[in-house]
Subunit: 699 residues, 2 copies
């Protein structure tokens, strides 16, 4: 029971730390009346959106849960409960993280004004850590509660053990479903608002970003919170849970060598592996808390160093603790030695770092790719956009090779379980990663508030610096999110194949069933992307019309005398996001079911792999194309190739606007698409196992 207890204790500690951090943040002064007013608008906008989004998600969740109860010969009520629980956990973490983040931003601005860099960084990272530690604390606590509640560890009957363990798969599905809507809804919201605000404000009216006269600016700021904080948190929460769930299922298969029939001593081996996983998760949480503390202490001198330092502290500490845990608790399993788990963990971490570094290389304006992209903007927007697309495409090469090698190393070390553990390795310090990632939008918003409340330039200087530090860490974090999604999805897929007991000889790529699945699956991320692009486009379109209308109709708005109507803009963004997320969401949810019934479980396996492969690739491409174009614009704004207002700058603004929905809406949503489809397939196993597929019966 030691792993369960460690998991329980560490997650409770995380939640206590979260409460302390919340108290710290809320105890700070929020600033002048103007600042308070703006902050309130952002809070209200964010919580309005969240409320509406949650209502829609709840409906979908409840419908699915009821459907599961109706099909209870396949799923049993435990699956429905796990599913609901997963959705609740994800929703709770998002709600807590977001409400604190939207309260931390004005306080960060005020601290920047009153006590400079250190105080501001302190609040921003505290706000971020509320999200980060909520994610891991609540997720792990939820999992441990399910393991206790279903009495999984007490079970000695082999069949029942596996059935109970499998019903927890739906926990990941609940979290994943929530994440999909949070990411795609939030992503549409934030980019529709952002593009709308920029297209009329910056491009047409020639007023700066975050100018209070622009009525879409509040919606843009709300978007930063709902997209980048709530969305990212839900995304990584999902990956975190999934990597653990997949590893647990795969532990069974690797110990029983694929037969799914466990002898008593083998059952003990499996339980031991699960205990080790939970213990390492606990180590990751404790290390993340220490990492956050490191940032707070080290903040004095150099924020960039503090944030990166904290991340490294958490990662290294986790690896040391993991080694100790495996040394103490580990034992040979299946055909593999005691240290197999450790090398799998390491391969995941190393490839994650490589992917993060490549993101940095292709998206930071310290390196050649972005500088060359900035140069090509001199020839106009078309060449700039082509250059940005091509930068992203090229950036896929090394990450894919890194993933392939991690898969090879981890499966050589611990068989198919190794792949699950590698994915868990990337995610074990999720607490720290999400803290740093959520810090970014808080700093960004703090800057916006400084601008809108006309604070002195040196305050804006502090917040700008904090923001630019956030951009660098965000690029690395994005790489991690994609890499971990890739692994989590592959781990889930392996768990699906094992659970559905698909025979190796049926899964050949030369089989028409598999090939059909690969083709359909490969196409899905493209269809899904196009729907999200359309949704962003539609919202941006509506936003542009509205801002143009206000500039035209509200008297004195451009002189700063008329009051811009932010509420209508927030409303447009909310409606656009809700409407836009439903259809792609339905595709993600229904595809595994439809393919499973029409074509059977083998074609579904092919579909999943097809989707995972094209999804990973375009996910990476979009993140880096978008990031590269964003930073090429910033590089020009720093005075290169003619600086602000030059031809090159105008071209780069177009490129940046094209890249925005790629990196912040479509790319991240694809991460979730591939995970969600895989986890739904895993949950559907009891229902579709053994089906031959209606289509194949026709021929």
């Amino acid at each position: 029971m030691s792993g369960l207890i460690l998991g329980l204790v560490s997650s409770v500690i995380a939640i206590i730390v979260v409460l302390l951090l919340i108290r710290t943040v809320l105890s700070k002064e929020e600033g002048t009346d103007v600042m308070k007013k703006i902050a309130r608008q952002i809070q209200i906008g964010a919580s309005t959106f969240l409320r509406r989004e949650y209502i829609y998600i709840s409906i979908v969740v409840v419908v699915i849960a009821i459907a599961m109860l109706f099909a209870k010969q396949h799923f049993g009520y435990t699956s429905a409960v796990s599913f609901l629980w997963g959705a609740i956990v994800s929703g709770a973490a998002g709600l807590i993280g977001m409400s604190i983040a939207t309260r931390a931003n004005a306080r960060t601005t005020y601290a920047a004004k009153e006590s400079g860099m250190k105080g501001a960084l302190n609040i921003a990272i505290s706000g971020g850590a509320v999200m980060g530690l909520s994610v891991v604390g609540i997720a792990l606590l939820g999992l441990v509660i399910l393991l206790f509640a279903f009495g999984v560890f007490k079970e000695t009957d082999l069949d029942v053990f596996f059935r109970k363990l499998s019903s927890i798969n739906a926990y990941a599905m609940g979290a994943s479903l929530f994440a999909l809507f949070a990411r795609s809804g939030g992503g549409i919201y934030t980019k529709g608002a952002d593009m709308g605000a920029d297209l009329v404000g910056k491009v047409e009216a020639g007023i700066p970003e975050d100018d209070p006269r622009n009525p879409a600016v509040i919606a843009d700021n709300v978007g930063d919170n709902v997209g980048d904080i709530a969305g990212l948190g839900a995304d990584l929460l999902e990956s975190y849970i999934e990597s653990m769930i997949a590893s647990m299922v795969l532990a069974v298969s690797v110990v029983s060598l694929g037969t799914m029939m466990l002898a008593a001593e083998e059952l003990q081996e499996v339980k031991n592996i699960i205990e080790i996983i939970l213990s390492i998760a606990a180590a990751g949480i404790v290390s993340s808390i220490l990492g956050v503390m490191f940032v707070k202490v080290a903040a004095r001198k150099n924020p960039q160093g503090a944030l990166l330092g904290g991340t490294y502290v958490a990662a290294v500490l986790t690896m040391i603790l993991a080694a100790v845990i495996i040394w103490k608790m580990g034992a040979p399993f299946g055909n593999y030695g005691k240290w197999g788990l450790f090398w799998s963990l390491v391969s995941g971490v190393v490839s994650g770092i490589i992917i993060g570094f490549v993101s940095e290389l292709y998206t930071s304006n310290s390196y050649r790719p972005v500088r060359r992209l900035a140069e090509s903007c001199e020839t106009g927007p078309a060449i700039g956009v082509v250059g940005g697309l091509s930068l992203g495409m090229k950036s896929v090469f090394i990450p894919i090779i890194a993933i392939v090698f991690a898969i090879i190393v981890s499966s050589a070390s611990a068989g198919i379980l190794g792949i699950g553990i590698a994915s868990f390795g990337m995610l074990v310090t999720t607490g720290m990663i999400v803290s740093v990632d959520s810090y970014g939008p808080i700093a960004d918003n703090a800057g916006g508030i400084a601008e809108m409340s006309h604070l002195p330039a040196e305050v804006r200087g502090v917040t700008d610096h904090l923001d630019s530090v956030g951009n660098t860490t965000a690029a690395i974090g994005k790489g991690f999110a994609i890499g971990s999604a890739a692994y989590a999805a592959i781990g889930l897929l392996a768990a699906y194949i094992v659970s559905a007991n698909l025979a190796v000889e049926t899964l050949a790529i030369s089989s028409i069933k598999v090939l059909s699945g690969l083709l359909i699956g490969g196409m899905l991320p493209f269809l899904f992307s196009s729907l999200l692009f359309e949704a962003v486009k539609k919202e941006a379109f509506a936003m542009v019309e509205e801002v143009r209308r206000q500039f035209r109709e509200i008297p004195g708005i451009m002189e700063g005398k008329g009051e811009p109507d932010s509420k209508t803009c927030v409303d447009i963004a909310t409606k656009g996001a809700i409407k836009g997320m439903l259809f792609p969401g339905a595709i993600a949810i229904l595809t595994p079911l439809v393919i499973g019934i029409l074509f059977g479980p083998v074609t579904l396996a092919g579909t999943l792999i097809g989707a995972i492969i094209s999804g990973i690739i375009i996910g990476i491409q979009y993140a880096n194309s978008g990031g590269g174009m964003d930073n090429a614009k910033k590089y020009i704004e720093e005075g290169n190739y003619g600086g602000k207002g030059s031809q090159a700058h105008k071209a780069a603004v177009v490129g940046d606007t094209v890249g925005d929905p790629m990196k912040d809406t479509v790319g991240p949503s694809i991460n979730i698409l591939i995970k969600l489809m895989s986890v739904i397939a895993l949950v559907l196993v009891p229902m579709i196992k053994g089906l031959t597929g209606i289509i194949w019966n026709l021929f």
Copy 2:
């Protein structure tokens, strides 16, 4: 022997018709001195490029042929000879087609001036048919010659029969290698020149397209010929050969039910299937000749109707003849009935038509997608580009479903051979398809010459009309090219798996070896695309600099008094294309070899499938994104959303420029990438068969 004789006779007839058409074209008047001068510049530019390109390709071809001779324990000299022969055949068809096409364009203009629509269409389609019928006539003749020369049909020893048949695989590889360079080199040439010409001419200097003051216009016109005529011809020539070769190899496997051991009566069955394939090819050639004649006769009234009518005549006639052939010559084979081949053919043709229709739906401005895209250009270039990308992504859905269903139907009808036959079904009227496709650029160039020689508006009216008709048929033709490439590649892959004798249980998608291959393969088209985008960007960049320099330095150039220096622009395009094609070409050629040696034949199979899947998808996406953005611009130019010069128009021009390299350089080259990699793998079989792969030995 009847199939061989029919193949020989029909291909000789095709070549005779080509000679007659050449005489017809060359007998026409070329026009005024100005027209002659411009036509001469285009001819010289095209032949200069072709000469240089052929030199580089020859070097690569000879090096590979020598390498094959050095590894003659694996390949034997017959493979090297087949390979050289394939390259020569492709080169010869390209050379003949292009030199006549560049001679037909001024003559088309003059005919438009002297005898109006009918005369002009007559010359343009004759010029196109020279390319179209050369492709099929020379390709089939080449194949028949090899079958005779190697005495394949005389062979009664089973082993030797299969070895001889396999050595002909290299014939397809030679054609494929040639096509890769022709397509990518031509594509870089044409789009670099086009973008360069437009960016300075239309966007900066505000002079119309094809304005003779623009020194890059000649290069642009040369590009239409080398990219759209020679490139497309080589592409379809390759698919045509490959679909036949793959079907022949698969015939062996389907008759022997995968054992590769033939009894004497089974050998007879295989020979009979090959005879049927050759007979149907002969039927396709005869039908294509009749289709071309139909166009010439029907041209009087309505050119659109004439071209489409000719295409339908050829297709329907071929199907009727195929049914007769199968009725007379067919027999049950393997587990399948006599009519299995026919249904496979039909499934290929039907899905090809569906793909063509979807291309039309998404790229013609008669339908909603392009009109909505034009509308979104009103919000500026960024939203326009996003809309164009998303249009292409959405357009992938139906074609993939169509391909999946064709694969299901054809393999249900004739096993794995059915897939080869379906691909052959799409390509059997290649003669007609290439004729119509090559007609387009001739009409386009004719318009350019009319503009540059300041001919009266009504002449330009005729050529514009001919051109716009060409655009519609070109969209359908592009759909066909992609669809057929997809099938041909899948057919080759099946032939590879069968030839390499890979056991079904080793090919499971759950195997790390396969999964690694799928990931690497899926990434390759992205890497390849990015290199081509870079090459186009670089050439366009150089072109822009040069045109700007000439506008600045040549006195009186803008007043039409100074002579623009076209030769330097042609030179820049030629160098850019040659330099740009080498590295991506090397990747395509070397990947199968490197993966085969490092990872072994199983991972190579995974790599091929990964590349085929992502290649098909982004191939379709690029073709339709590019086509959609092009026609959205044209739709606006027709006076919608503000017409020429409006904000929407400027945005659409940016979108069109982004789409140009997608549809004309990268998309088509990816078609060839996937075919080339597959055919190289097939040829490499004797060398890599049974290797375990260096990497897997490490773990």
